[in-house]
């Protein structure tokens, strides 16, 4: 028996709120990146943290290397988001967006920027719908070009469950998936549930 973070109604509400947030994010991203951007409807699932690598492996092509960015948010709800990009996706992104300078640093900076925008849009969007306000720490590179199972090597998540928000991200003719993993601090589950309940009552 798994302990569910959210009941079915709360999960639906979160899905709905995320959809709206992503719509806003896509519009904003398009303006900022000066490129046509499409974000899929996010797929929201709750996963056991011990099974995250398996879960991600299922949606990434086999034997693929990935890069990941982490960013913490805090306020009434606290947690950390990890965005995992397939290495090909990173290169595509760099191809499309890099303008100048040293390729390695530019690629990292782009990953940080795009993650920050995605995380900000998604988490802020959710917070906004839930009538609360959050702050963000600077994003950091968690790893670059490592096999998937090494993403969390030496960084064991402290919570048992995480919200997995998967978004397909396409720009111009190219498309690639990135995966947002939201780790909520266990203390924040209660606040998230009550925020979602308030939201459900208000509509």
């Amino acid at each position: 028996m798994t302990l569910e973070i959210l009941n079915a109604d709360q999960k639906d509400a979160l899905q709905e709120i995320s959809n709206i947030a992503m719509g806003t994010a896509a519009a904003g991203l398009a303006k900022v990146l000066e490129s046509f951007v499409r974000l899929s409807v996010p797929r929201i699932t709750i996963v056991e943290t011990s099974r995250i690598a398996d879960r991600l492996a299922a949606s990434l092509p086999p034997h693929r290397e990935v890069s990941a960015v982490r960013q913490a948010f805090y306020g009434p709800v606290e947690g950390e988001v990890v965005v995992v990009f397939g290495e090909d996706g990173c290169n595509e992104l760099a191809d499309l967006l890099a303008h100048d300078g040293d390729a390695g640093a530019v690629k990292e900076e782009l990953l940080l920027d795009v993650s920050n925008i995605l995380i900000g849009a998604c988490i802020n969007g959710i917070a906004h719908q839930l009538a609360t306000e959050l702050s963000f720490s600077p994003p950091e590179i968690l790893c670059t070009a490592v096999p998937l199972e090494q993403v969390f090597a030496g960084h064991q998540p402290t919570c048992e469950q995480a919200l997995l928000i998967e978004i397909d991200f396409s720009m111009e003719a190219r498309s690639f998936a990135c995966h947002m993993l939201t780790f909520l601090a266990p203390d924040s589950f209660g606040e998230l549930r009550s925020s979602l309940s308030r939201f459900l009552e208000s509509i």
Binding site: A25, G28, L29, K31, V32, H99, D100, A105, V106, E108, E109, L112, D113, N116, I117, G120, A121, N124, S135, F136, P138, P139, E140, I141
Partner: protein
């Protein structure tokens, strides 16, 4: 009890005096706030820059990138960040640490905050600039130390050539590479002749000098792509990727002749040194690293048996080592 200070004044005081750069620009990129930290480091006073367009006041700023960054904050109503790790600095400030050296410009971590107006739109963007030079210096020290450790972990301290661990690792990867791409690969094993006599006659310092001398000569005789390592006491191994037996024999003979022609000068005494060498080629039927080493060792043994100061090729196709013995009889 009444407070002499009001909170707004105090906040203003803190923002202006804090050891963090604080600047704000409006939607048209006009500077609205320029605090003391920025005045001190830029040499430009708030009086001079407030009201001016950011890129007029500071034309050296990376305009295309920074405009996009600020625009992003305005459009997305979201924080943005830069780290010294990817972009060393925003403003070119000196860091006032003349004695720590190595880093010329103050490293900076920047945060871009949207300032929301009453209309729900971003009315200004506030940029905070943290001096990250200290972190950067520690990071650099750490990286330098790690690089030294990494280098030391693969080198033989006496000679500076690869140590046994690195040699084994290199041999494994070259053998599997040669097998994968069906490329030639040869191995030379070398032993200093009558080394015990050197040690007995000149003591360990003399022995060490001879080992160092041979390592230097061997390194000078091979290509950059070859790997030279000290295998044991007075034994060396040379891995020659992309080299068939014939080529390895030429190299081995060059080493032999070179060592024989260059005596070691130790405490004003000349010590004549010769080496025996064994050559093995990976060949068509790919071998394990251990087999290849064993074969080179067999050939080396044949050189020793046949009078030392010579090169022997271990034929890959079941020929006896004797058939291919070459070398000088001097």
């Amino acid at each position: 009890m009444s407070s002499v200070l009001n909170a707004a004044d105090l906040l203003h005081f803190v923002a202006s005096r804090i050891e963090v750069g604080i600047l704000a620009v409006d939607r048209e990129m006009r500077i609205v706030v320029w605090n003391r930290f920025l005045e001190a480091h830029s040499g430009q006073s708030a009086k001079d820059v407030v009201g001016r367009l950011l890129f007029d006041a500071f034309p050296e700023l990376p305009r295309a990138w920074l405009e996009r960054k600020i625009k992003g904050v305005i459009v997305l109503k979201n924080f943005a960040f830069t780290s010294w790790r990817q972009r060393p600095y925003l403003f070119k400030f000196r860091h006032h640490r003349p004695i720590t050296g190595g880093i010329d410009v103050m490293r900076q971590d920047c945060t871009f905050l949207p300032v929301m107006g009453a209309d729900g739109e971003v009315s200004a963007v506030c940029i905070t600039i943290l001096d990250a030079t200290e972190t950067c210096l520690y990071q650099k020290k750490l990286e330098d130390a790690l690089a030294i450790i990494a280098e030391q972990s693969v080198r033989d301290p006496l000679t500076g050539v690869y140590n046994r661990r690195k040699l084994d690792e290199q041999l494994r990867s070259e053998v599997s590479r040669a097998a994968r791409y069906e490329r030639p690969l040869s191995l030379i094993m070398l032993d200093i002749d009558h080394f015990k006599r050197v040690n007995d006659g000149f003591g360990h310092p003399g022995g060490d000098e001879v080992i160092r001398h041979v390592a230097k000569l061997v390194s000078a005789c091979v290509r950059d792509s070859d790997a030279v390592g000290r295998y044991g006491g007075e034994e060396f191994v040379i891995i020659l990727p992309e080299v068939p037996a014939a080529g390895a024999l030429v190299v081995a003979e060059r080493i032999r002749a070179c060592v024989a022609a260059s005596p070691v000068i130790f405490k004003q005494t000349s010590i004549a040194v010769t080496v025996s060498l064994g050559v093995a080629e990976n060949g068509k039927s790919s071998r394990s690293p251990e087999t290849l080493l064993g074969e080179a060792d067999e050939a080396l043994y044949a050189s020793k048996e046949n009078g030392r100061n010579r090169v022997t090729l271990r034929q890959p196709a079941r020929q006896t080592p004797r058939d291919a013995t070459s070398g000088s009889e001097c």
